[in-house]
């Protein structure tokens, strides 16, 4: 799929808001500024250092402004500088990071700011009302499919095929919430025990509320720069060693392919995106070569499907590995030390937050949830009906 870029690039600054349900104190542009300024300060830069901006904004009905890039241009002080607005649903933040990486590695620009903001807590109809409208209006929207029902269909299939049960998904959710409690920027910071997860309301069986991501508002931003720029900066950097995306066909029932299993729950597009990013980064054995993973897991029952697609475990065995503690601190790879999407989900920037969390681990700036000795990390984005995926591998070394 994708090849090595002609020159390296790194994340040299990054920041996220402290996420919560609503941000009544600011409007969308102020939220964008909150993220952008914080990331630039982290990089030791100002807006004058930025050559171009990539804006990560996902479905417009969630934040209430059509084509928000039009309004954002003034707030970000572009004054004729290049702007690219990317929108791939939940994968938007990763796609935006990828577009910014292209702009820098192309040699066209030295420093690119990628920024986005979400205020989906404002949506009076609820996010699932909006997200129901992403489905085919003639057949599927009426069912009614939404992202929760989408996950439930896949989860039931996984349970039937590989024997996982609700207790497993409750354990995963509990682990993520415990991680989120250590992340001061996470939206949900109160730990929950597996029994509490199983007592939470069923949204669409077997998915329960405490297995599911919240609706979060806040901003995220990262500064991506060339190697020449990194030499002038004092702070740590996270080199982007590989970045790729893959989009599958829309109808879930069409996603039946032979490898590795003839099942849509194999998440073929995620597997391909991950493999392409690994190939660029020289990752041949993810569990031994990666220290941290920040995959985009919006419901705890997606974890086994996604980790298997990313080659963290053989097909059908990720739950067993989870029971052994493989994804916890001290295990094979620490998965979602930030608490992940189950604790924080500002859709426009959720995938950008994954990229930033991976970068901050590699830069040693993950504060209370820093994984000791983290040098190589990966992150993913997921959008559409588990259809659009992006993956990135970051390292503290441009070629280790």
């Amino acid at each position: 799929m994708s090849d090595h870029p002609k020159r390296p690039a790194a994340i040299v600054g990054a920041a996220t808001s402290r996420f919560r349900t609503r941000r009544d104190d600011v409007d969308l542009t102020e939220l964008l500024l909150e993220g952008a300024v914080s990331a630039l300060i982290d990089a030791g830069m100002t807006f004058a250092d930025v050559d171009a901006v990539v804006l990560a904004q996902a479905p417009d009905p969630l934040h209430g402004i059509g084509h928000p890039e039009q309004t954002a241009a003034a707030a970000l002080g572009l004054g004729g500088k290049p702007l690219v607005r990317v929108h791939t649903g939940g994968a938007t933040g990763m796609s935006a990071g990828q577009a910014a990486w292209w702009l820098v590695t192309s040699g066209r620009f030295e420093t690119v700011l990628v920024v986005g903001a979400e205020r989906m807590g404002d949506n009076v109809h609820g996010a699932q009302k909006v997200l129901n409208e992403i489905w085919d209006p003639a057949y599927e929207a009426l069912m009614p499919l939404n992202t929760i029902a989408n996950c439930s269909l896949m989860t039931v299939r996984y349970m039937q095929r590989y024997g996982a049960d609700e207790q497993d998904f409750a354990e995963i959710a509990s682990r993520m919430r415990a991680n989120g409690a250590r992340n001061e920027n996470a939206h949900l910071r109160i730990p929950v025990e597996p029994d509490e997860v199983l007592e939470s309301p069923i949204l669409t069986w077997p998915v329960r509320r405490s297995m599911s991501c919240p609706r979060s508002s806040g901003a995220a931003a990262a500064v991506i720069a060339s190697a020449d720029v990194t030499r002038r900066l004092a702070g740590p950097v996270a080199w982007i060693r590989g970045m790729a995306a893959c989009t599958d066909t829309y109808f879930m029932g069409d996603r039946m392919r032979l490898e590795p299993v003839d099942e849509y729950i194999a998440m073929h597009a995620l597997r391909r995106a991950g493999e392409a990013a690994y190939a660029m980064a020289g990752i041949t054995d993810p569990c031994s070569q990666l220290d941290v993973a920040e995959p985009y897991i919006p419901f705890s029952s997606y974890e086994p499907m996604m980790l298997e697609a990313l080659h963290f475990a053989p097909v059908g065995q990720a739950v067993a590995r989870a029971r052994e503690g493989a994804w916890e601190t001290g295990g094979e790879v620490v998965v979602c030390p930030s608490g992940g999407v189950v604790c924080t989900n500002p859709i426009s920037v959720t995938a950008l937050v994954r990229l930033i969390e991976a970068a901050q681990q590699v830069r040693g700036r993950a504060d209370g949830h820093q994984v000791d000795g983290a040098r190589t990390a990966m992150a993913t984005g997921a959008g559409g009906d588990a259809q659009i995926f992006g993956a990135a591998v970051l390292s503290d070394n441009p070629a280790n």
Binding site: D60, I65, G66, L78, T88, G89, S106, I134
Partner: protein, 341 residues
Amino acid sequence: MPYIAGVAVHRPQPTEEPSLEELAFAAASAALADAGLDREDIDGICLGASDQLDARAISSMHLAGPSGGCLRDEVKVADDGSVAFAAAVSRIEAGVSHRVLVVTWHQPGASDEMAALGVNPEPIYARPAGLHPWAAEAMVVQDFMRAAGLTVDDVDAWVAQAGCTGAPPGEWLAYPLRRSHLPPASRAAVALVLTAAPAAVGVRGLAWGADAAGVVDRGGVLGSLPGIATMAYRQAGLSSPAEVPVETTDRSAVRRAVAAVGLGLVDIAKAHQALEGGQLARLNSSGGLWQSNPVFAAGPECIARATQHVRRGASKAVAHASYGFAGQGNLVTVLGQVKSV
């Protein structure tokens, strides 16, 4: 910089009722055929689409596949179709992709454009004041007309003289913009195949940028267009843009004059005279948006037209896309012949 190996503009017959998916599929297939490639050869997809205009919450979910994005590295750019072209150029320049398909479309029946654009202004101050994007466009047009010494009668005369077939004359959209000053929207999908390997047409210059949505915050009636054009020309070694074919998105009758000045084809004091005297025959010789106006895909259609100019013998051609809130965004690309292919 990359090359343009294939272009296609698919316009369905008036009697046909294709879905957006069928539109995109037809354009992508035709561009690939024009390039002598098939879908397996493509390693990147850049879609240019507006959810509002498509009347879908994430339109690329349904349209990535028909556009060639099934199990491909795909991204959707939402500023304008022309910015998807810029993204495609950058990923080839980066070396991560080698053959990228750009696909963009417009289906007027998918949504009510006036209503769809009405949610774009900032909601606290601008929207309650009635600042619709076309009202903002009228403010820009009025500023330019004042600076260029143009009157509404002049613009009416251009529209009548050119035989433009928009709305009936008379009705104001927002003074000094009449509905008849706007080219009607049309159905089409546009696809471009960009390659790292040489083809007959090369991308020789590319620059783009966005000004503030607020008309008074743009530092002049032309905003950053002159600087963007100069940058693209410099990359391409183009010193006399008035001597090559230029295709621009004349989203209103006055926008052709704005582009003529902003792109450095004529001084603002002489714009009126030059346009009436036929001295700008190379500007939109294709007929511009009055010939075809697939709104979100109009910029890429200009690039497709510029490609055809070069294929027919022009040494260079310029394509300009104006987009966003009252033309706040501008993209200028210079295409040139590749002799060795």
